[in-house]
């Protein structure tokens, strides 16, 4: 008899089969993902969750079966309590007779197949064919910026890198080893020499003078600091991958932005956040709301705070620039921005807005998306849309889109981030 421990065998042997199954179920899964977004359960998106898909079509495993609705059959059952031979029993409803119902004839009525879809798998489907704009390009350019880091000491270098401690330590060791007379010893001899002169002790004075001269000579021969003592700090540049991103959520919170419109914007932000999380190890969010002034606020205030006043978009851009300057050096952070608005802005602010956007914000950003939310009350283009449109055509990292309903969000998001050239079904 053998006992073998198989627990150490490689895990997840079933993974290959699972992937084959998911590939097979792709069509259904896409619909599930789409529904999850449309039904407004965005907050739950990205958790492990159960998924039900129909088992018909591609996912069925047909075989020849006897139709229980036909012909004549006998069943032997246990647990008779009062039936006598010849008794008649009402035919049980399909499924309650105990043996479960078999596939129904219309084909589509099969039981939905329920299973647990893992977060990773969900997100894979969710973001299938999508790509971070400019990510590839930046990576090719070695987005990694280099930082100097200490790498010990070296024997030459610019004076400002001189490492005093290290240099002095070596100097001292050398002085002790070679027996360089200390200054204090010399001072003491000089004092005793003076004393001897004062005492008219010519012999001692001569001895001391001789001694002093010898020591002074030695001091000159053995310098206090020699070139060999010098040590300089050594820095080498090490590449540090930039795997963090900050996402700026800009939103007009003036009275014309209703809760509904804010809800639309929120969904977009959540999608963007999920998306960024897949590409960066660390994603931070900054919420900037604006009316005629702008301020950085927390999430709660951002979505639910009440504000009144006019709309000056450039104030938000200015605030964003300040936050970047203060906390998010461009070398270390990938910067994404999503601006949501109903499209209003004071006309006199437009030149300023465009200037800041083009000259200050866009050069810092990896990507800047403008989402116009609204219920299409106004057929004509809004102030912002009109001004942004030519810019969007020109700037690859600047995209604009309109969203009218929650169900649009996902497709708008997809169209903004879709891989160039490959349009998925």
């Amino acid at each position: 008899m053998n006992i073998i421990d198989r627990r150490i065998n490689p895990k997840s042997k079933s993974l290959g089969n699972r992937q084959r199954f998911l590939r097979r179920a792709r069509g259904h899964m896409r619909r599930v993902v789409h529904d999850a977004i449309r039904d407004g359960k965005v907050a739950d998106v990205g958790k492990d969750g159960k998924v039900s898909i129909p088992t018909g079509g591609d996912l069925s495993e047909p075989t020849f079966q006897i139709d229980r609705e036909t012909g004549k059959r006998f069943d032997v059952l246990p647990g008779n309590r009062h039936y006598q031979k010849g008794d008649r029993i009402r035919r049980p409803e399909s499924g309650s007779g105990g043996r479960g119902n078999e596939g129904s004839a219309d084909g589509d009525g099969e039981d939905p197949f329920t299973f647990l879809l893992r977060r990773e798998e969900f997100l894979d489907l969710f973001f299938e064919d999508l790509e971070l704009p400019n990510l590839v390009k930046k990576q090719l350019k070695k987005l990694d910026h280099k930082a100097s880091s200490r790498a010990g000491f070296r024997s030459d270098g610019p004076p400002n890198r001189l490492n005093v401690t290290q240099t002095m330590r070596r100097s001292m060791a050398r002085r002790i080893a070679l027996g360089r007379p200390r200054q204090s010893t010399l001072d003491e001899l000089v004092a005793r020499h003076q004393q001897a002169i004062d005492d008219d002790d010519a012999k001692t004075a001569a001895q001391l003078e001789e001694e002093i001269r010898r020591l002074q000579r030695r001091q000159r021969q053995i310098p206090y600091l020699d070139d060999v003592d010098l040590r300089y700090d050594h820095f080498v540049p090490t590449p540090r991958p930039t795997t963090q991103a900050v996402m700026f959520c800009l939103m007009d919170t003036s009275a014309s932005m209703t809760e509904d419109l804010k809800g639309l914007a929120k969904r977009f932000y959540i999608l963007l956040h999920l998306f960024l999380q897949r590409h960066y190890r660390n994603v931070e969010i900054v919420f900037i709301r604006h009316t005629y002034t702008a301020a950085e606020v927390d999430e709660q205030t951002f979505f639910h705070g009440r504000d009144t006043g006019g709309t000056i978009v450039s104030s938000a851009l200015d605030e964003m620039r300040k936050v970047i300057q203060r906390r998010y050096p461009v070398n270390d952070w990938n910067i994404y921005a999503a601006q949501a608005s109903d499209g209003h802005n004071f006309h006199h602010d437009m030149p300023e807005t465009m200037r800041r956007l083009q000259q200050e914000i866009l050069p810092l950003c990896q990507y800047y998306a403008y989402i116009e939310v609204g219920d299409d009350l106004f057929q004509s283009d809004s102030v912002l849309w009109e001004a942004y449109q030519p810019l969007a055509a020109k700037e690859a990292r600047f995209e604009i889109a309109k969203v009218a309903e929650a169900s649009d969000i996902y497709s708008v998001f997809r169209s903004l981030f879709e891989r160039n050239g490959t349009v998925s079904s």
Binding site: S14, N17, F21, R73, L77, P78, D87
Partner: protein
């Protein structure tokens, strides 16, 4: 009294060994079991889930349907709707039993007694297993299948292989030549061996083929089916083998895929015929062994209670009108019948002497059981050994369901008049021919229009489910390459009741 073999739920490998060594003499000397050498493998719950969602085999080729099963079972397991099997046992030599690491010591003892001795004996001795499976080569076959499917995937594309497997799986139950006198002739085994060698050689020679354009690669060419001897051996019920042999348009690797699935089908064929007996035998064995170990002081009272609790759950038989009823529990009926046979041999009543004159009072229940385990399958076993007393105890009754009538009718109950009816009907329900539609090839035109004609022998008016039938037929058409017809003919009158047809989809 000796010290118990173990205390508490935690076990280590030495404990398992002690348990096995304590069980062995009981099984061999007292019960007279004859077993393959045992190999006990400890696995995790995930590995268990994995194994039994891919047909219960320890290694299996890849296919999406196993992933589907896994996803389903995992969901049920995680939400707590269903617990995992405690063990899994492979009909191989040595006999491999998988036990889960989460099991308590008592459960491990139960599992070892049940699988490593009960099932093991049944596998080695039952004539159906003897006739249809080769315990010595099962693991080799599986590993070959896995390698072949994987290599075919690389060579011909995963999707192409998947499509062929889909079609073959649809015919999973039609890969057995039931009435062949020897299920595997010497010639056939040689052919298989050759095919395998070729496969291996091809793999080794791959480089040569790829680098030398003049060699050509014969394996990818569409090959001609074997020129059939006239007339074709019809009717043929082994659809997979027939298609592998004669389908005009398959490539060689596809034929081999069909044969692999056919062999798998053959491996499961005995299991499908002996579920009741196999489980009954194993349950009887574990029950006896655990009691004997308790009698000898090898397991303590706490462990015994734990054992009884799970044993009772295993052999529970809900009444037909209870919510959790899902047919007759093979563990329950099998165990009850084994115990009943033992009783008839040792303490027969007048009724038993009348019904079972050959064995009643013979005294050696184990000998009778061992003979039964060797010579019967579920259908014949029930027909031979179901006693009136057990029918009464289980309150069995037979219901006839004729779709023409709005009511079901009680055909027989547990009384003098009904015993034989119930026994016959129950036995019949274990007959594979009753449970699965009987489909055969009756006509194949290999020279003219190349149509293939199948027949469903319709018994008592029970037709095929239209939808699944059409889908399965489309798979057959895909393999055959030309139009396929299925006639549903009444088994007695030969009258055509229904007709289905499928043509292969045109693929670009």
């Amino acid at each position: 009294m000796p010290d118990p073999l173990y205390t508490g739920p935690d076990w280590d490998f030495a404990t398992l060994e002690r348990i096995h060594d304590a069980i062995e003499p009981i099984a061999i000397d007292e019960l007279g079991l004859d077993i393959y050498p045992n190999q006990i493998e400890v696995i995790t719950s995930e590995q268990m889930l994995d194994a039994y969602t891919s047909t219960g085999m320890p290694m299996m080729y890849s296919h999406w349907s196993f992933g589907k099963n896994f996803a389903r079972e995992e969901w049920l397991y995680r939400k707590g709707a269903q617990s995992l099997a405690y063990e899994l046992v492979i009909n191989s030599n040595p006999c491999v039993s998988y036990v889960m690491e989460e099991n308590t010591t008592t459960m491990q003892a139960l599992v070892i007694a049940h699988a490593a001795f009960g099932h093991n004996h049944f596998f080695k001795n039952n004539h159906v297993f003897q006739a249809w499976t080769h315990a010595d080569s099962v693991l080799d076959d599986l590993s070959y299948a896995k390698r072949f499917i994987a290599a075919a995937g690389v060579r011909h594309g995963e999707l192409a292989v998947e499509r062929t497997l889909d079609a073959a799986h649809a015919l999973m139950n039609y890969g057995v030549s039931k009435y062949a006198t020897t299920r595997c002739s010497k010639r056939e085994r040689e052919r298989r061996l050759r095919a395998r060698q070729e496969f291996d050689e091809r793999n080794y020679d791959d480089l040569l083929h790829r680098t030398n354009p003049n060699t050509g690669d014969g394996s990818d060419r569409e090959t001609k089916p074997k020129q059939p001897v006239e007339p074709l051996p019809l009717p043929e019920e082994n659809l997979l083998e027939f298609l592998a042999e004669f389908a005009p348009r398959l490539e060689d690797w596809q034929r081999e895929v069909l044969r692999i699935v056919a062999r798998l089908s053959q491996y499961f064929y005995p299991q499908r015929q002996t579920k009741l007996m196999n489980e009954g035998c194993a349950t009887f064995v574990h029950y006896h062994i655990m009691h004997r170990m308790y009698d000898r002081g090898l397991i303590d009272e706490g462990s015994m209670l734990e054992f009884l609790r799970s044993h009772t759950a295993v052999v529970a038989q809900p009444r037909f009108d209870q919510r959790n009823f899902s047919g007759i529990n093979p563990y329950a009926l099998g165990f009850a019948m084994m115990r009943d046979i033992q009783r008839i041999c040792q303490r027969p009543e007048a009724e038993d002497r009348e019904w079972f004159p050959e064995i009643a009072g013979c005294g050696d229940g184990m000998a009778v059981l061992r003979d039964a385990w060797r010579d019967y399958r579920d259908e014949s076993f029930v027909l031979q050994f179901l006693s009136p007393r057990l029918i009464r105890e289980m309150h069995l009754f037979a219901v006839s369901d004729n779709r023409r009538h709005p009511f079901l009718a009680v055909a027989a109950i547990h009384d003098e008049e009904g015993y034989r009816d119930i026994r016959r009907q129950l036995a019949r329900s274990y007959d594979l021919a009753q449970r699965e539609p009987e489909i055969e090839v009756i006509q194949a035109d290999l020279k003219g229009n190349r149509h293939l004609v199948l027949r469903h022998r319709v018994r008592r008016g029970r037709l095929l489910t239209e939808e699944t039938c059409n889908r399965t037929l489309r798979y057959i058409a895909k393999l055959w390459g030309y139009r396929v017809k299925l006639l549903e003919l009444d088994a007695e009158t030969g009258r055509e009741l229904r007709k289905h047809e499928a043509v292969p989809e045109v693929t670009a």
